[in-house]
Amino acid sequence: MTLPLLSLIVFLPAAGAAVLMFLRNDDAVRWIALGFTLLDFALAVAMLVGFDTTTHEMQFTETRPWVPALGITYALGVDGISALFVFLSALLGWICVLASWAAIDRKVKEFMVSLLSMQALMLGVFCALDLFLFYVFWEAMLIPMYLIIGVWGGEGRVYAAFKFFLYTLAGSLLFLVGVIVLYFQGGQTFDILALTARDLPFHVQSWLFFAFLIAFAVKVPMVPVHTWLPDAHVQAPTAGSIILAGVLLKMGAYGFLRFSLPMLPDASLYYSTLMLALSALAIVYGGFLALAQDDLKKLVAYSSISHMGFVTLGIFALNLRGLEGGILQMFNHGVTTGALFLFVGLIYERTHTRSIADYGGLMKVAPVYTAFLALFTLSSMALPGTNSFVGELLVLTGGFAASPAFGAAAVLGALLGAAYLLGMYRKVALGPADARARFKIHDVNGRELVAILPLAVFVLWVGLYPKPFLGIIDASVKHLLVQVHGNGSSP
């Protein structure tokens, strides 16, 4: 009997949340929360160290009967794709705790409990190998996220939280219908791997594809179901934004990778042009929206829509480079956009304004802050040498192979990205420094630096030596291609 590593990773934050409920002192709550998330991160690192990159098979699997009558089991396991996101979620977990250290000053205990519950459920989604279990985690995530936005958010938090809840719930209900259809069509099992092996007729695949599409597209989010995102981000506290951008948005793309592509390969191939078109639309439309923003948080939020368009473009290019680029870009977006939301949060804590027009000449007063902001801004616009460039190059190469027109649209999105990101940086950090007199801004402190540094490391690590990261996903992606294209015909 080996150590149930994945169960530990998934439930450790939940145990932490349980412990926190018995505490009264806010500082103790913060430290304990940090301790649990750090320990969880250590376990995730251990999982990656022990991960065998040569196989696409599920690893660290655990199976226990749960509701045998309905074929429901408690089954966990990770392949290369999910392993990468378990790691990302665990990394962002403790960074979120640090980001909330001073920003959250009321109902600290309740906040950390929500945060850790959220953490557990997200990890559960990435580890679940049983569709029912997956659905439980997937739906349960809504509750802590609703609370994080709705209780600790900004002035319009109730509206934003409700909008978020409605959109996601609507998508999830269609997903539930899909799950039930899949259960009966796939031989009354919830075993994801068994369902993947089923060869469903095309018309069933088509219906399921669209049911899943709406559920996942809301999460990604893809245009036109993206409108909940800017509201949610603007109102959410910093940690909420980091989770939303860093992990929650990845759930939609992960859904495509785990369900749509392997279970519905014919439909995925058939509708891939549609998906590419929607992705290109998101890239360009999101870019133009970001270009028009004066609110820092909205700008980053709309940039996420554009960047997630790159992810789905890569995925539905349905070739090796596109898929690897898309998945790598999911990771990169988690790191970089997570960092950008952290930076917006840091400056908002000091000035209580997010309007770009209120800033200028920050470099003179907060040189460390602006230096790191430069790094993450450049990473977000995919400067060669940073993480996003590797992903973007792969996505574009895959995209051009799939469709030159949509590849060209994506290039336009990249150009827009440079425009709004560099424009934002210039207005905030450089320029005549007359606005800065209004603020007494102190530079980043040690605690904040601890949260920033690991993200900065990943920006350059993936940018200059992406091999270990691509190595993790490589076998699984190749297997996925075989599942989609059938043996021997994968490009």
């Binding site: 060669p384 574009l396 190469t397 995209g399 990249a414 990205g417 210039r426 450089l430």
Partner: protein, 487 residues
Amino acid sequence: MDPVLSIRPLLAVAVASLAALSVLLLHNREKLRDLVSPVAAVLMFAIVASMAPTVLAGGTVDLRLFEILPGIDLAFRVDALGMVFATVSSLLWIVAAVYSIGYMRHLNEHAQTRFYACFALSLAAAVGGAFSANLFTLVIFYEVLSLVTYPLVYHHEDEEGWAGSRKYLVYLMGASKSVLLAALALTYHIAGSLDFRAGGLLAGADASPALLTVVYFCYLFGFAKAAVMPMHAWLPAAMVAPTPVSALLHAVAVVKMGVFCVLRVIFNVFGVGLVGDLGLGIATAYLVSFTILMASVYALTRDDLKARLAYSTVSQLSYIVLGAVLLSPVAMVGGIIHIAAHAFSKITLFFCAGSIYCASGKRKISDMAGIGRRLPWTMGAFFVASLSMIGIPPTAGFVSKWYLAEGSVEAGQVAFLLVLLTSSVLNAAYFLPVSYSAFFEAESGEGHATVREIPLVTVPLVATAFLSVLMGIFPDYFLTLANGVVR
């Protein structure tokens, strides 16, 4: 000849990067800080020079760090073309480092630490680019160069500085995040690699001529630092920078990085054969001929000396590209050695502009009448460098223009001989009046009574003027390297 494996290419980059770090650390010990750059420059030049014998003998110095993606490594390879660019940049950094100290101290400029740090990083990026073994590595250094020169352009932090630097970044980043990015992705898609190959990476590739043509022009305009019209407007805008920056970076390192990248694409990505087969050589030749003539006409109309020099640079850069796309060996040699010839002479001209500004505060040519009698060394050097720009023996410019002219005849394209001649006449028309007015006209306005040469500024510009003549008399080093590229 087997490639020599060595860490020296990386070392050359590291020396300049460490220099930048030292500058930052020594920010409140000014004398020591100012010493860092000249010392680092000498060290870097020594490292570059130590690889010269291998390259002159037809070999390469290689360093492969690790794989980025399948078919893409982070890797260095010092070959003849890279050696031309690296020699010029590192040699002129020594001179420019001394000049900068004189210039910055005399004008008591602000933010000198940032200035020296960014300056050193620019050289790290330029030499890193020169030694890159593939497009991926090259593009990293190319972009770093854009970024670290940006603070140098907005250095004065006045309205003019912000506006100029904004234009600078919009053009350079805009081009690289659009057409260049597309070119890279398409190249990787077609060839499965981004390596530089001797006969061209895309030679024999399975792709339609139309697609290859698109990729080619994406590169030509994507590398906006080469300033082929209409991607040239950033260069005059960059003239708001302090003059040492205009001299070394916007006459040598940055702009030569642009044409260097274009030459890499022609020689090692497409290959001369493919460029010829697609009929792209002659198309590009007409395109850059337009730039050569048009920029010269612009230069004629500018009264601000640095602006005139900037448009002259736009024009001269296209000479280099013209040499390459004529696709005859002699013309290619001419284009390649023009990298060095133009560098030595144009840096002298900028140094002179800075010397005049330091000594008198004058920027407009119309205000410089009679100044030659007060600044004989400066204006003497200006005259020598002007002769080289026009192409009069025994200067460096004569050698490269000779090869270009002979090459266009060899290529059977006599039309371009006419372009070269017309351009030379235009060069004479916008340079010689400056010297004439400085030496022979009466002092204008209030006169230049208090104007004196500043030794720390004058010595470097005399040295580079001397280099311009020296290369005219002994062009062997660069000719050998250029022949190595063409072979």
